[in-house]
């Protein structure tokens, strides 16, 4: 069993409740038993451009992890950093082929689905095409990505995406499935494997505690 590594200083996570990229990291921190200070950044209000935030993260993106002197943003880079520094509950399998499946599933979500549903893109579609086009646009790209994920994972899934243990793919999938179902009303009938995975993630406290509705900055009126 891997040593439980603890950070020397408390970890800080700059996060937005609804950011699915932040959600992935929140789940990882929970799985690894790492406590952290949650620093909310309201993206809708443009708080990522406040001078104090920009000083720390000139990119204006969330999530950002601060570990003592070490600052890293981008969920993929953060997850790889966490996995190397705090090896308890490893996020990657040992087998290289299985590892590659995890990388592929994660990237289907992070390159082919999530970027097409983020605030800036939706705003653009709303302004330049029409507000009615937003939802069909997002649903189209989610369905496309989900169809690919069903095929990719078909021969590898067990209780979870790539076997009977939780790995990197599950973190990306859980966050994306939550958004697809709760926010964008995607019909999951064509995606039996992903539907089953979504149910499995709902049973795990580490996942549930990372979900948008359970964050310090979740608006009290929000149900998703």
């Amino acid at each position: 069993m891997a040593t439980i590594e603890e950070p020397k200083n408390k970890l800080k996570l700059y996060s937005y409740w609804r950011s699915s990229c932040s959600c992935r990291v929140r789940i990882a921190l929970n799985l690894k038993g790492l406590s952290y200070e949650y620093i909310p950044v309201n993206l809708v209000k443009g708080e990522q451009f406040n001078p104090e935030i920009l000083k720390l993260n000139p990119l204006g993106y969330v999530p950002v992890l601060v570990d003592g002197d070490f600052v890293v943003s981008d969920s993929f880079a953060i997850l790889m950093y966490l996995d190397e520094k705090y090896p308890q509950h490893p996020l990657l399998p040992r087998d290289l082929h299985k590892k590659a499946i995890n990388y592929q599933a994660a990237n289907i979500v992070s390159s082919s689905i999530q970027p097409l549903q983020n605030l800036a893109v939706l705003k653009f579609i709303e302004e330049k095409v029409s507000p009615d086009e937003k939802l069909p646009w997002v649903q189209y790209h989610i369905r496309n990505g989900f169809a690919a994920l069903e095929k990719l994972l078909k021969d590898h899934a067990g209780r979870y995406a790539t076997g009977d243990e939780i790995f990197l793919a599950d973190l990306f999938l859980a966050a994306q499935l939550h958004a697809a179902i709760k926010r964008f009303n995607v019909d999951m009938t064509p995606f039996p494997l992903l539907s089953r995975l979504h149910e499995a993630y709902n049973e795990l406290p580490a996942f549930q505690n990372g979900m948008p509705e359970n964050q310090p900055d979740t608006p009290s009126s929000s149900t998703t």
Binding site: L59, A77, Y81, L96, K99, A100, Q104, S111, Q114, E133
Partner: protein
């Protein structure tokens, strides 16, 4: 169709590598560059995206998202350039594309991710085609330009204090592998003014001087059209 690689490390090259690629795909370009850097020879299999060959049943079996690149290494099939890079890095560790230093390692992963998630997917050809249909070619071009500029601004800030000759110092790593093709596309397709991004411009000039990069250029590929 054998790819003529400039450097060949015969002791560690794999005769089983097959790369499905399209000459103009910047994502495939990243992998071609990486394979050259690692001295890995491979069989080049062209997928003509303009003719819709990515929708053939055979290719769909390899990548249900219908994107290139796809790498086949014996019985392992890996699609997505980011996943392919990480796979190659572990399977063929020669000429490491990720530094050992945790800060620089994270920077490389982050820079590559900005390109592969926040820039390229928003302006890839199928996306531009959709925008052209919905809002006309001028708006679509403006959209592409703004995606690139937003991403390049982020990268300029990210790399400013770490770049040397290359993105994160004096050696080529994953960030450069993603960045150089992206800058090339930015110049060709979107006419981005790189003087706004001096660090990125300098990195690009450095990469252009590498034989491994030259060998990966679209016009050097077997399926390049004149």
């Amino acid at each position: 169709m054998e790819h003529k690689s400039q450097q060949r490390d015969l002791a560690t090259s794999s005769p089983n590598l097959v790369l499905y690629s399209y000459w103009q795909s910047s994502c495939a370009w990243r992998v071609r560059f990486a394979l050259n850097l690692k001295g890995l020879s491979y069989e080049y299999k062209a997928v003509n995206l303009a003719k819709g060959e990515q929708f053939s049943p055979e290719f769909e079996r390899l990548n249900p998202l219908h994107f290139v690149p796809v790498l086949v290494d014996g019985d392992v099939v890996v699609s997505d350039s980011y996943a392919i890079l990480l796979y190659l890095e572990e399977k063929y560790p020669q000429k490491a594309l990720l530094p050992d230093d945790p800060q620089r390692r994270a920077l490389n992963l982050q820079a590559a991710s900005i390109i592969s998630s926040s820039i390229q997917p928003l302006h890839m050809l199928s996306m531009l085609k959709y925008f052209e249909e919905k809002m006309g070619p001028d708006e679509a071009l403006l959209w592409g330009q703004s995606c690139v500029e937003k991403g390049f601004l982020a990268l300029e800030r990210l790399l400013k204090d770490f770049a040397g000759r290359y993105a994160t110092g004096e050696a080529v790593f994953m960030a450069d592998v993603f960045l150089a093709p992206q800058i090339a596309v930015a110049l060709m397709r979107f006419k981005i003014d790189m003087s706004k991004f001096p660090t990125l411009g300098r990195i690009y000039e450095s990469c252009k001087g590498l034989p491994e990069f030259v060998g990966s250029l679209p016009q050097s590929q077997p399926d390049a059209e004149q």
